[in-house]
């Protein structure tokens, strides 16, 4: 049994890789290596996408570097393709770990014809039906009430599914967040709320965001357990999220997990100068020392199964190659044309849109309107 409302974040592994409590048996070296592979792949994906951004091949990117343990750990705590997920825009690592093909993520970021969302949304706002990974909305916390409703439907339908809803620390200030939490609590719906507390909402620190000591204690107000976990310790994330998910699944009502982590990069390409404006180099360095990937490598070394420099380099090279190939493949499919504007606005094309489409067709093909 894992206790909610602990004063300190729950952790299993210290920064240097020493376990601070016994590791459950399921964490075999193979399992740990698989987690490591996913985290490193996500980190390199970030690096490559930032390069694409610099090359002007995409227009926006919000990296999740530093938050890999939280997102990969969460992905590994739920039943992919069975449970439903209402993510937020920084969750591409969660998507990758849930098996959303890299090609799909890249196509979405490039807005090409291979984008399953057809170039409609800004980069980084994908949707993946096979994984029940519901379309990302930029509007902060707007996914929380629908996630509560998704969970209420699951309860109504009597299915053995849960709903996972993620958000940043900033999102917990929005009215929608409180409305959704309260609704899920009142309905005792099977919803797992996960706060990826990376401690900054663009330039607003968690201290300026709320006078609450932590995010997870807010769960108390909505009648659900609140768990506090070291979000850079992937084993702790998997243990706590896995436990909370099971509680939710077994009909105990919703739960909130706060993963304490850190975004080491900027908020997005729009504020590449974070250190200059609002946070100190020392703070970033202190968190770099708690890096989730290094911590897992330290654990593997501690267990006598170190990741060698060659293995690491090979994995990085392979990811880079894969991204490069997928980018070229995506770009080769071209950009969706003007028609995409009119499709999917409604189930059927109403008359006024039919007219507007005809107007644009005439304009785009050089004919008369």
């Amino acid at each position: 049994m894992i206790q909610p409302f602990t004063p300190e974040p729950i952790r299993f592994v210290a920064e240097d890789g020493t376990p601070v409590q016994p590791l459950p048996e399921r964490y075999t070296p193979e399992v740990l290596r698989d987690l490591h592979r996913l985290m490193l792949q996500a980190r390199e994906f970030d690096r490559k996408l930032i390069t694409l951004l610099r090359q002007g091949r995409t227009t926006f990117y919000a990296q999740s570097s530093g938050m890999e343990a939280t997102q990969v750990g969460l992905a590994r705590s739920i039943r992919v393709g069975h449970d439903w997920v209402w993510p937020y825009y920084r969750d591409h690592t969660l998507g990758l770990a849930m098996g959303v093909p890299m090609a799909e993520l890249i196509s979405q970021c490039l807005g090409t014809n291979s984008d399953s969302c057809r170039g409609r949304q800004m980069p980084h706002h994908f949707a993946a039906q096979r994984q029940n990974f519901v379309s990302i909305s930029s509007s902060i916390a707007s996914q929380v009430p629908p996630a509560a409703g998704n969970a209420m439907a699951q309860k109504y339908l009597g299915v053995d599914e849960i709903t996972v809803c993620t958000f940043g620390d900033g999102a917990t200030s929005e009215g929608d967040w409180h409305a959704g939490m309260n609704m899920a609590g009142a309905a005792q719906a099977p919803a797992l709320f996960v706060c990826e507390n990376n401690q900054w909402a663009i330039s607003t620190s968690i201290r300026e965001q709320t006078a609450s000591e932590t995010i997870h204690i807010k769960a108390k107000a909505y009648g659900m357990p609140g768990y506090y976990v070291d979000g850079n310790d992937i084993i702790a994330v998997m243990e706590v999220c896995g436990y909370a998910a099971e509680q939710v699944r077994s009909g105990q009502g919703p739960a909130l997990v706060e993963c304490l982590t850190y975004r080491v990069g900027s908020h997005s390409n729009a504020d590449a100068d974070a250190e200059k404006h609002y946070r100190t180099r020392e703070e970033v360095d202190a968190w770099l020392a708690r890096d989730p990937i290094t911590r897992l490598e330290n654990l593997l070394a501690h267990l006598g199964h170190p990741v060698t420099a060659e293995e690491r380099a090979a994995l990085i090279a392979q990811t880079h190659r894969e991204v490069d190939e997928q980018v070229l493949a995506a770009e080769a499919t071209g950009q969706p044309d003007w028609r995409i504007m009119f499709e999917d606005v409604y189930a059927d094309l109403p008359d006024h849109l039919r007219q507007q489409e005809a107007f644009l067709r005439a304009e785009q093909t050089g004919g008369r309107a």
Partner: protein, 339 residues
């Protein structure tokens, strides 16, 4: 009258400096904060970060954290708190990071800010300004490119303005801050750095509710506001090259709007084309068209033309196709001219 003649509003006679639109916003805020201790500024990232577009850069350093501060990420809190502060005697400027994100604050805008004077019979009022970047052309997809002004023009009690030049941006913001009503002040984000122009060194305001005639003409009145104005100018240039004399009007304020200037113009030219990048249905320009047909029907030699956004969510990849653009405006003018 030739197509290229200008009136004073088109190029204010100043001895000032040339700045861009976002600098004009910053200057207006700074000067009003200097002038009036009641003016406070807050929103997401407006402090140390200086705003995501840097509209408030340096203001926290200059005026202190009491007067320029970051808020929690909550538009309902930002707008609602502004209402409370205004009722208690401050002059808040609330920044909403993108017009697309006014949604969570919508109830506070329409239920509180817009109504408190009326429902209390003037015992309580909320003079405040909500500033927000709006419009497309920046590859932002639907959550960073929308033009939601019509939601607000539809709400009695709110004033709604949208400048397109640095001169107007500064003058309108100052006037809004010195007024007694809540004002929604939309900033066309694609013109932040693109629109450059002179502002005077002395203090001035641009009264809310007065349109600007950007150029005089006799064949057709081309009317717009905000981010589309440079396209109106381009369209007028193209038509001038064909010998067509276009009068270009920038509404600047939507509520209240300058019926007189618009009607006088249409009575002179007999033709009007209205341009806005917001979706067409319930577009504010529908109101302008209605008033033109009601008040100037006898003068019209062609139906009032309208160029608007499509009734689709704002697309990401087809950003440029979605926006009206000079060619589409010219086509609408030609249609009116050939009617």
């Amino acid at each position: 009258m030739t197509a290229t003649q200008t009136r004073p509003e088109a190029a204010p006679m100043t001895t000032g400096r040339t700045i861009n639109l976002i600098q004009a916003v910053t200057e207006a805020i700074a000067e009003e904060m200097e002038r009036d201790q009641r003016v406070v500024l807050f929103g997401e990232d407006v402090g140390a970060r200086g705003g995501v577009f840097m509209a408030t850069a340096g203001l926290q350093e200059r005026f202190g954290k009491n007067r320029v501060f970051d808020t929690p990420l909550s538009e309902a809190s930002i707008v609602g708190a502004a209402v409370g502060m205004a009722v208690r005697g401050l002059r808040p400027i609330a920044e909403i990071q993108f017009a697309d994100y006014m949604g969570p604050g919508f109830d506070q805008i329409i239920s509180q800010a817009a109504k408190i004077r009326y429902r209390s019979a003037g015992q309580f009022t909320a003079p405040m300004v909500i500033r927000t970047p709006s419009g497309g052309g920046v590859k932002g997809g639907h959550h960073h490119s929308q033009s939601p002004e019509s939601y607000y023009t539809h709400t009695p009690g709110l004033k709604v303005v949208m400048p397109s030049t640095p001169y107007d941006a500064k003058g309108l913001l100052k006037a809004a801050l010195r007024g007694e009503d809540p004002v929604i002040y939309f900033e066309p984000k694609r013109l932040y750095r693109a629109a450059k122009g002179e502002v005077p060194d002395h203090d001035y305001i641009v009264k809310l509710g007065e349109a600007a005639i950007r150029r005089e003409g006799s064949d057709l009145s081309l009317i717009g506001y905000g981010g589309v104005m440079p396209d109106l100018e381009k369209a007028a240039d193209a038509l001038a090259a064909e010998g067509v004399s276009v009068e270009v009007i920038d509404l600047r304020s939507l509520v209240p709007w300058d019926r007189d200037r618009v009607l006088t113009s249409v009575q002179k030219t007999g033709r009007a084309v209205l341009v806005s990048e917001a979706p067409r249905i319930s577009n504010f320009m529908g109101e302008v068209a209605y008033v033109i047909q009601e008040q100037a029907f006898d003068y019209l030699t062609a139906p009032v033309g309208q160029v608007a956004g499509f009734d689709t969510p704002y697309p990401y990849v087809q950003d440029k196709v979605y926006l009206p653009g000079a060619n589409r405006i010219v086509a609408a003018c030609v249609q009116a001219l050939n009617y």
